[in-house]
């Protein structure tokens, strides 16, 4: 037995850990980790089977491609705009619902329900509202304004943001409610005795002690922001209006047109961005924890 393995063995629960991890890690490696490494390799070669190493040539081609730049910019814009909006709205709702209100439980259920309704089930309703002849336009017309082609104009992005918020606000709200519950009431009492106003309590206690929750909520919200592809796909197909053509569309289309090199390098770039983002978020959280102790 190698020294490393023995070290693992003696390191306390090494043997047990191997047993507990084995089933999950084997599948995880086969379906995620190994494909992930293969993808990185493909992005550096000229063909998928028997390819030759070509360095960063694929990345250069990718960055020169107009449709990739468009897709990347759209994805960045969507996530950059929709996640902060979602988080502030759900935090606001959580702050309201953490107070004694009438029908609190009912309200909570109502806000979470959109999460559990499958996208495909409500697509027909979105069409009724968003169509050129749809209800939103009928109301606009009633108010004396012109029609808007909601999904085929610059309104497409705000429309998607609205759908994303509609779907996810309840879940984020519950996460924030849980975070709010974990802040000891005594902090607020002390602050009140020292004469801190409501706003000061919010910024100096609530928001500060919500940091770990917020990091968690941001991560979950980013994952969910990628899932907006489902709405866009079911409403508009493979090639939606330019403004909502996301990286997922781009990658799907590259897959179907067998342009594997572009796809894998696009994926690698996306991974790079996510790792940097998540890394800095987790570092923030860690700093917060060490500061707490």
């Amino acid at each position: 037995m190698s020294r490393r393995l023995r070290g693992l063995w003696r390191g306390g629960d090494g043997a047990a850990a191997l047993l507990f991890l084995a089933p999950g890690a084997a599948g995880f490696a086969l379906f995620y980790l190994f494909p992930f490494a293969m993808g990185l390799w493909y992005s550096l070669t000229d063909r998928t089977i028997g390819g030759r190493f070509v360095g960063l040539a694929n990345y250069e081609a990718l960055l020169a491609s107009g449709s990739f730049r468009k897709a990347a910019a759209n994805t960045l814009l969507f996530t950059g705009v929709s996640v902060p909006i979602l988080i502030s709205l759900s935090l606001g709702l959580a702050l309201l619902l953490s107070r004694p209100l009438f029908l609190r439980r009912w309200l909570q259920t109502a806000f979470v329900l959109p999460l559990v309704v499958p996208v495909a089930s409500v697509v027909a309703i979105w069409q009724i509202f968003l169509d050129w002849n749809g209800s939103l336009n009928a109301w606009l017309h009633g108010l004396g304004y012109g029609r808007i082609d909601w999904l085929q104009s610059d309104w497409a992005m705000p429309t998607l943001v609205a759908m994303y918020v509609w779907k996810n606000v309840g879940y984020d709200m519950i996460l924030f409610l849980a975070g709010l519950l974990s802040i000891p009431q005594s902090y607020y009492e002390t602050a009140r005795i020292e004469g801190a106003g409501r706003l000061r309590q919010l910024t100096h206690i609530t928001l500060v002690y919500l940091t770990p929750t917020t990091v968690f909520v941001i991560l979950i919200s980013i994952i969910n922001s990628f899932k907006v592809f489902r709405e866009t796909y079911l409403l508009t197909g493979d090639y939606p209006y330019d403004r909502i053509y996301m990286l997922q569309h781009y990658m799907n289309n590259m897959f179907f047109s067998l342009d594997i090199q572009k796809l894998t390098s696009a994926a690698a770039l996306m991974v790079g961005c996510i790792v940097i983002l998540a890394g800095s978020l987790l570092a923030t959280e860690k700093r917060f924890r060490s500061w707490m102790e």
Binding site: P114, V116, A178, A278
Partner: protein, 287 residues
Amino acid sequence: MIARLGLSALLVVIAAVALVPIALTFTNSLMTEREIGANYGLLGEMTDVAAGGRDLFINLKLLPDWLTLSQYGQVLIFNPAFLRMFWNSAGMVLPIVAGQTAVASLSAYAFARLRFRGRDKLFLVYLMTMLMPFQVTLVPNYIMIDKLGLLNKEASIILPGIFGAFGVFMLRQFMLHIPGTYTEAAKIDGAGHGTIFARVVLPLVMPGVASLTVLLFVDYWNMVEQPLIFLQDTFKQPLSLYLAHINRTARGIGFAASVLYMTPMILLYLYAESYFVQGIQLSGIKG
């Protein structure tokens, strides 16, 4: 008191608006095909050009003039594809939920309660993978599934689903919160990790398992990308893809099919809601 009443009323209005799409799907499913056609016939038409009628709009109907279950009859009796795909969905989602919960609870135990070298680094790898959209590993995954001979088989959806990292992440959160004294006591009584896992930790994280079950169900019942790529055979595809098709071709029965599709999710959520919320609150969301 007045403020509380006003605030509650405001939130009730917002919540009601949020529920409109769900409520409309339901009420429209009780309309006759004819009523649907009469009200929504203009959807997808470019009236400006076509009829020369600039002011033509669809007519949003909240309540049916005439209650009928005929759409449901159409879907359930005369549309064999619907039931087939409903069971397709169930046949993929149930194994994924059961499998991921089982596999993930074991891994989560290792990450939360055992000490071993490289633990935190390995966990970080899981976490990062969890954040990646499906398309990132698409090509190699496709090749892998092809090599395993799983292409166009349900297993191509089920197996990757079972080994998803989300369950590991979530259950680890819950297990971190079990006080060390519980497991120490079991250890002193001579229990091994297997016993501690099965007898002490697992029962305590049941709310977490319940939350995870709901979230996984919702997510996979709703899947679009995976079947789109891995299941070319239309008859193997889940309802999510079929419904989009039905909505384009037969709007009338689309509503009934939509209701039938979302009902299991809504019932599951309402049934598990208290566990779900309590579970998320218990986890305290600690990293």
